[in-house]
Assembly symmetry: C2
Homo-oligomer: 414 residues x 2
């Protein structure tokens, strides 16, 4: 992609910097190993969309798939589509596709329900696996729904919630570890974009005898996760951010195979029954990950998600991560060059291994700047009081997007 440089300052140094950065952006985009995947998305013309960490853009495969699901599968197939079109198996089939993006061997992921529902069901199941231990250890900066549901689970089971920053988990566990049953953290902080040490925290939790529940919302689809390799116990996540599954697309849950026989969920819906169509009086959980199914899943949203996931076909996750880091590194570089004297602070770590796929900037006018950027076709979002978030999806964002966003910000505050 080319870029048009509109210099709005008389400072000749800035002019030169902009020209240099524009050239670098063009070269980085030309050399981008994932440049071809941008065509798998229907991006509105001239839009710089850096909010894929809230809602991913529409994958090109979706409209035809939805139309088929509505007109042919539902309209013509009607009730027969539950089996003849594979609706019944869809949560498991789509779970496999997601699992492959999480570093999970087959049979450990199922899709369905919202992240909030999955969190509740999973935190309850995790706490029951460690009954006798009275503490849930979690992040004081966790996303609100995680915080609320952790409190609700603790109240129901008579447990205590302790909160410690992710970096302090090993020290906290060294102190109170024998009381801790569940350790629950996000892989990436939703405000700052800081990436936590999933393998290290998981290892520390296991050494203390606890199980982990990871929230992957801000990581899945943006980097390799390596759930099996890190011996994670449980994980949940949404699919409408980097997985681009559409507004409110169903969430997923991962349960390590070694726990399948022991986990007991409170949401004992009939889709998780061992023999659902026998309509038996008593709940008997299905074998394997199918026991994490709950009720009838929203099939049109689920089939939309399935089509969206084809955007990952043939994509190497290490390569995806490299492109993601190139985008966020270049964005930070542009911020340093163009915004350092304009009241902005980069809130995201500069060390690549500590970064997710978004960059957060702090600025006192953050709340007003978001709509002003949107009017200039640069979409990001805010977290009050002072955070601007710029999410980068390596499947469709470009280095030129990064520069345009920074340049537009400078124009607004300059």
């Amino acid at each position: 992609m080319g870029i048009t440089v509109t210099v709005t300052t008389s400072n000749a140094d800035v002019d030169a910097t902009l020209v240099e950065l524009a050239g670098r952006a063009a070269k980085l985009d030309a050399d981008n190993a994932l440049a071809h995947t941008r065509e798998r998305f229907l991006i509105p013309p001239n839009l710089v969309y850096l909010d894929g960490n809230s809602l991913g853009v529409l994958p090109a495969a979706v409209p035809a798939a939805v139309d088929d699901a509505v007109r042919r599968q539902w309209g013509s197939g009607l009730i027969s589509s539950w089996f003849e079109e594979g609706w019944w198996e869809a949560p498991l089939r789509i779970g496999e596709r997601i699992g492959a993006l999480l570093g999970a061997a087959p049979g450990q992921v199922v899709a369905g329900d919202s992240t909030s529902v999955q969190l509740f069901n999973t935190l309850m199941a995790a706490a029951r696996l460690r009954s006798g231990r009275r503490v849930l250890l979690t992040d004081p900066g966790h996303f609100p729904t995680d915080a609320y549901l952790t409190d609700s689970v603790a109240e129901l089971l008579g447990l205590e919630v302790r909160r410690a920053p992710a970096a302090d988990v090993p020290a906290t566990l060294a102190e109170i570890g024998s009381d801790v049953g569940v350790v629950s953290y996000p892989i990436v902080d939703y405000r700052t974009g800081e990436r936590w040490d999933l393998p290290g925290i998981t290892r520390a939790a296991h050494e203390a005898g606890a199980v982990v529940v990871w929230d992957l919302c801000h990581g899945a689809g943006a980097m390799p996760i390596g759930l099996d390799e890190a011996e994670v116990d449980f994980a949940v996540g949404c699919t409408y951010k980097y997985l681009s599954g559409g507004p409110g697309s169903p969430a997923y849950v991962y349960i390590a195979a070694r726990h399948h026989d022991a986990v007991r969920h409170p949401l004992t819906g009939w889709h998780g029954h061992a023999d659902p169509f026998a309509m038996q009086d008593a709940y008997k959980p299905a074998d394997g990950i199918a026991r994490a199914r709950v009720g009838c899943p929203p099939m049109l949203s689920l089939l939309t998600l399935e089509a969206a996931l084809t955007a990952f076909d043939g994509v190497d996750l290490s390569e995806l991560r490299a492109v993601s880091l190139s985008l966020t590194s270049f964005f930070i570089e542009c911020c340093d060059a163009l915004l350092s004297e304009q009241g902005f602070e980069v809130a995201t770590p500069r060390a690549a291994e500590r970064r997710g796929s978004q960059v957060a900037l702090r600025h006192r006018d953050a709340v007003q700047l978001v709509p002003q950027l949107a009017k200039r076709s640069v979409v990001c979002d805010k977290r009050e009081p002072d955070v601007l978030r710029f999410g980068f999806n390596a499947l469709y964002n470009t280095h030129s997007d990064a520069l345009t966003a920074v340049r537009t910000l400078r124009d607004l505050v300059g």
Copy 2:
């Protein structure tokens, strides 16, 4: 609609009966006050679809609405559509439309999640409203997911589940009423199609000091329900049966306004928070029915449901009920005339007030007959071991459908 009579028996009496019934069907369909609503659905040609009590047919308004939601709202509007297209308010807006079909004044119904999730969240909230009472009273023949979730709630809260047939509820409450906190029944039995006495059971529960949780899955959209008039406390239901919202379309919950301030749900997702975007640390439920929201709803399935509900525009529910009873009465009459000597038994009550909108037939070959009927373009379903279910949606089914189904059954077993 005309009907082609293919007489496959040499019995002249049966010939005459068929001719008479076909004439009656044609006249009843010609006089049907809701004949015009059939055009609001895309019914496959020559299909007799009597499984709308499992999955309703595709409403004609849906394909364009879904395409708009996908391409324009998601594809072009992207994140801005959460507010500019009314996505955020959709669960409440659609809840109002459903509430109007349930006899609920505004502000008491919200759509979202599966019936199973809504049942869990609602049974928990109901039991907490009557903490101190140790019994959940429910139907021994309740749909499995209701049974399983009632057991799960009882285990979590240390309660006891007692099961009594709906007809015995007043007697049971007279005996153990002071122990009963929650009375939980379906409005219509999913196998036999028998309709229970919602006002009477609700009154008996209240006299005993309990609250009621009604499962409306097999009633909503097929008859007036009168939730407010009967002073129901809680109700939940799916939307993919008589409401024709599509496969797995989101469920809904009704909570009487008088309980709003007191109910406490375990699923404290951030969408139910009083100030969700303030991202506060502690859960504070929203005012009104919005506190029953949980997580991010599956928006495409939700907007599909919204379009589907337009099929009810201008429909008087008393008239709908009259057409429904005409259809099921005529179906029973056809069964009496043509199937009484073929090993079939009508399992649904003959008294109109005790009937939902389906007729169940018992037959020893029920399981094999369902696919044989489907091959002849008559779709119904089974419940093992011996029940055939024929669901009638008064918005699109005809008396000719009823006769064709019975005639085809007779051909198969004759």
